[in-house]
């Protein structure tokens, strides 16, 4: 037969499969299609540039799986966990594990929701692929920490921790927000804002750090996951362009979503900034530089210049995120140190090389505003602990402890009156998101009320039981049993032996 080219063939396989129903109302099949005010005229002309078919998908993905699980198998068999340069890295990996992995799972359910409810075949098969990919990511990450959990603390009840711990309400509320949105908003939220604007910064620097500290397994997790993200980014870009070009009435709606989800994504990445700047003892890049490279250069200076012709301006408060880049990781690490006695991943005493690196990378801010705080822990790791349970931001759920980047000695906390209550927000970015949909954000579940009301029992032990871990699994790394375990594993393997050469 005459060989069809890739584009024609892809269209033949993925298009015209749906039809206008004759015996039911199409609005019953797609009840949400008009809910958000988006107008679609001729979506047929759009296309997912990756043109991945079922056969290509399973072939490429099984090769990726094969490569990744071979690395995993070797790492596990050789006790790679004992061979990394410093075990505090695992505390960062734990943070990643219990924060990012449930997010992947939520994204899996979310992509199914989007694919089911947006009847645009041009992007639909890409959403179906992504729904399966996200399950892949969740499972690769689980396999990674299933092994860790056999040797280290903190992960053995991850689902309980995910459901009940204050820290996990941060990523959970982010994806819950998208899951409860309309399908087009969810598409912009995840495929565009999350995947295109921010996942680079999640997987590229972190995988590089993993390789630098010798965690081959985690480097492979990062790289293998990221290798699917190009497809997800392509979906996000195609969807964004389609919505903007289909109808002018979509533009202000899309702008509103970009405003909201840029800041929402930026804030959910707060802990990632500490995984870039603090947890690895050998860093690949600083948060500040990664932000400049991936967000400022590639997105604000690249993409948003292109979107100008549609009347789209850079997302609201993007200047704030640029200002905050000198503060973000330090202020976030400070928050983690306040509550490290009640978290499944530990803080740690900064070491001399950490002070050197942080001062060098952040000459304008670190020594002046943050180093004194971290030095307080030199004698006593609990010196900076919070006396109680913090008020958290009603949108992003992070404790309201960010400094105003213009005046770093002052708090950035915002107070808003709604429905007979004063609501607290961590920043002007989150405040504006709250004000746009207060009826949504007043529904957030915040464990402080439950903890303080004694719902989970009257003692601290009861509360930890509810979190899914014990007080011994929290606190500071270098004084923890995990650190001593790691030393023992290394001794057993003879890793710290010095061999004289004469």
């Amino acid at each position: 037969m005459a060989k069809l080219n890739v584009s024609t063939r892809y269209k033949a396989l993925t298009r015209d499969l749906m039809w206008d129903p004759k015996d039911v109302n199409i609005k019953e099949i797609y009840p949400l299609i008009e809910a958000e005010g988006i107008h679609i005229r001729d979506p047929k002309r759009w296309e997912d540039p990756f043109r991945m078919t079922f056969n290509q998908y399973v072939k490429i993905q099984s090769e990726k799986e094969h490569l990744h699980h071979a690395i995993r198998g070797a790492f596990e068999a050789n006790h790679g966990h004992a061979r990394i340069v410093d075990s505090r890295w695992f505390e960062g990996v734990k943070a990643f594990a219990v924060a990012v992995q449930p997010a992947e799972y939520a994204a899996h359910r979310l992509m199914a929701y989007i694919g089911r409810n947006i009847p645009i075949e041009a992007i639909r098969f890409a959403t179906f692929n992504q729904a399966v990919d996200e399950l892949r990511h969740a499972q690769i990450e689980i396999k990674h920490y299933a092994h860790m959990s056999r040797y280290y603390d903190g992960l053995h009840a991850y689902s309980k921790t995910n459901e009940n711990l204050w820290f996990n309400t941060v990523p959970k509320s982010f994806f819950d927000d998208a899951l409860t949105s309309g399908p087009f908003e969810a598409l912009i939220a995840i495929s565009f804002s999350f995947e295109y604007v921010f996942t680079n910064i999640l997987f590229l620097p972190f995988a590089s750090s993993a390789a630098a500290v010798g965690d081959e397994h985690f480097a492979s997790v990062g790289k293998s996951v990221q290798s699917d993200e190009s497809r997800h980014m392509a979906l996000g870009m195609a969807a964004l362009k389609m919505l903007l070009e289909e109808d002018d009435r979509n533009i202000p709606i899309v702008q509103r979503w970009l405003d909201k989800w840029f800041w929402r994504c930026y804030r959910v990445f707060a802990v990632i900034s500490t995984l870039v700047d603090y947890y690895p003892r050998i860093r690949a890049i600083s948060w500040k530089k990664a932000f400049e490279m991936y967000v400022e250069d590639q997105v604000l200076n690249g993409l948003f210049k292109d979107l100008f012709k549609y009347g789209i301006r850079p997302p609201r408060h993007f200047e704030d995120s640029m200002k905050e880049k000198e503060h973000y990781s330090h202020a976030t690490m400070r928050i983690l140190d306040h509550y490290k006695h009640a978290n499944y991943f530990r803080g740690f005493r900064l070491q001399p090389d950490d002070y050197d690196w942080l001062s060098r990378e952040y000459p304008n801010t670190f020594e002046r505003y943050y180093a004194p705080f971290f030095r307080k822990m030199d004698d006593h790791v609990m010196a900076v602990a919070s006396p109680g349970l913090p008020a958290v931001c009603a949108v992003c759920q992070i404790p309201c402890e960010y400094p105003n980047p213009d005046r770093p000695q002052e708090s950035w906390t915002q107070y808003v009156e709604y429905n007979g209550k004063t609501h607290m927000l961590c920043s002007p970015g989150c405040r504006d998101i709250f004000l746009a949909e207060p009826e949504k954000y007043m529904q957030w579940w915040w464990p402080a009320e439950s903890y303080l009301s004694g719902e989970f029992g009257s003692s601290l032990e009861d509360m930890f039981e509810y979190f899914g871990f014990t007080p011994e699994e929290a606190n500071e790394h270098y004084s923890s049993r995990d650190y001593h375990r790691w030393i023992r594993y290394r001794e057993e393997l003879g890793l710290d032996k010095r061999f004289e050469t004469v």
Partner: protein, 80 residues
């Protein structure tokens, strides 16, 4: 009822911390609870200020929380 008390002078840069409270309790009682919780030095004079979207409002220590118009979930600054 729960109120959120912050000590802006604390150099740990902490946010408001939850304090279980009761509408009928005197503000002085809340102040004592909060100073104890935050580990502030005894024998000094402190005051409470309620924070609003529109500004600040002093809390009268001899009145109850209800008389002060304090509501569940209100943020308060403890100044000293």
């Amino acid at each position: 009822m729960l109120v959120w008390v912050r000590v802006p002078s604390d150099d740990r840069f902490l946010s408001h911390q939850g304090v279980p409270a009761h509408p009928d309790m005197k503000a002085q009682e809340l102040l004592d609870k909060a100073t104890q919780m935050w580990g502030l030095p005894e024998g000094k004079t402190y005051q409470l200020v309620r924070l609003h979207a529109t500004g600040q409002q002093p809390v009268h220590l001899d009145k109850t929380l209800q008389e002060n118009g304090l509501r569940d979930g209100d943020p308060i600054d403890l100044l000293g």
